[in-house]
Assembly symmetry: C2
Homo-oligomer: 153 residues x 2
Amino acid sequence: MQVIILNILFMTQNNQPKYRSNCPISSALDIIGDKWSLLIIRDMMFANKKTYSDFSKSSEGIATNILSSRLLMLEQLGLINKGKLEGNKKTNIYSLTKKGQELLPIILEIAQWSDKNLNEHLKDGAKPFVHKFKSNKDDFIKNMYHYFATREA
Amino acid sequence: MQVIILNILFMTQNNQPKYRSNCPISSALDIIGDKWSLLIIRDMMFANKKTYSDFSKSSEGIATNILSSRLLMLEQLGLINKGKLEGNKKTNIYSLTKKGQELLPIILEIAQWSDKNLNEHLKDGAKPFVHKFKSNKDDFIKNMYHYFATREA
DNA sequence: AATTATTACTTGCATATTGCAAGTAATTAA
DNA sequence: TTAATTACTTGCAATATGCAAGTAATAATT
């Protein structure tokens, strides 16, 4: 019996994550409903961050123990992969799986919501980005997926 | 100086909520980046829940103290309103503000993501709903906003 | 070859948040 | 007049998060 306790979800005896209900919204929140998971994903998507130390340098200042547990959880749930570059045995390279990449529309809708509803305190830097997303969401998302793919190669 | 401590965000001396950074994604997560806030919003949107006891009967089983603090936070941040029905001095009626209603696209994208990526354990009941959303997102959202408006009247 | 730096963590402990059970005060219903 | 409902609060235990320091392996520098 695996005893790894993840911070949000945890594994039952049969090694299945335990969800609060079978509602799709609730179940997603069991995974990404916290302050940090989506920020790690954000940094992978938009800042091309790949390594533990990359993530630990986020402007929000994630604690290393939280980072560690989140990376493990995201990996176990299949949102990210953990790998190495050849010729380097030290540095772990984290990358988004398809399942992880597909969080993009959620993140973009969040950005759009904030842009509209929280802009008293937000910097204007994200405005052109959000504006472009709004003008043609499907294209924007398609282009981002293509960008993810080319980045890997 | 107001000393109300909200569970996620908290107020500074000048009564402004304190965000971790000025990133739109991080700032939204300062508000809705927890396991419960979006579930309350979900219940208001899709189950037409309005009262404290409505919310306390969610299938995920929110604790009443958490419910209480979340309702207060959502109200203070302008995502929901608190009111009464005339002729009833007891029951509080909570309703979504525009700011709160506009979380709909986020929630729908979350539902779509779960439908695709978590469906081992999800019930099929939400499938037609998600399918309809996918077929024409803009229309779907417009119809939902219209539904919210007519419900109030 | 030896020292230093970097990377990816873990550990311990304090603080904050959540979960649970019980209690309360103000209505409203029987 | 009593009972039930509603909207909470309170106390305490359990979890999760935050912070500082430590560690082991690898890689870079001298």
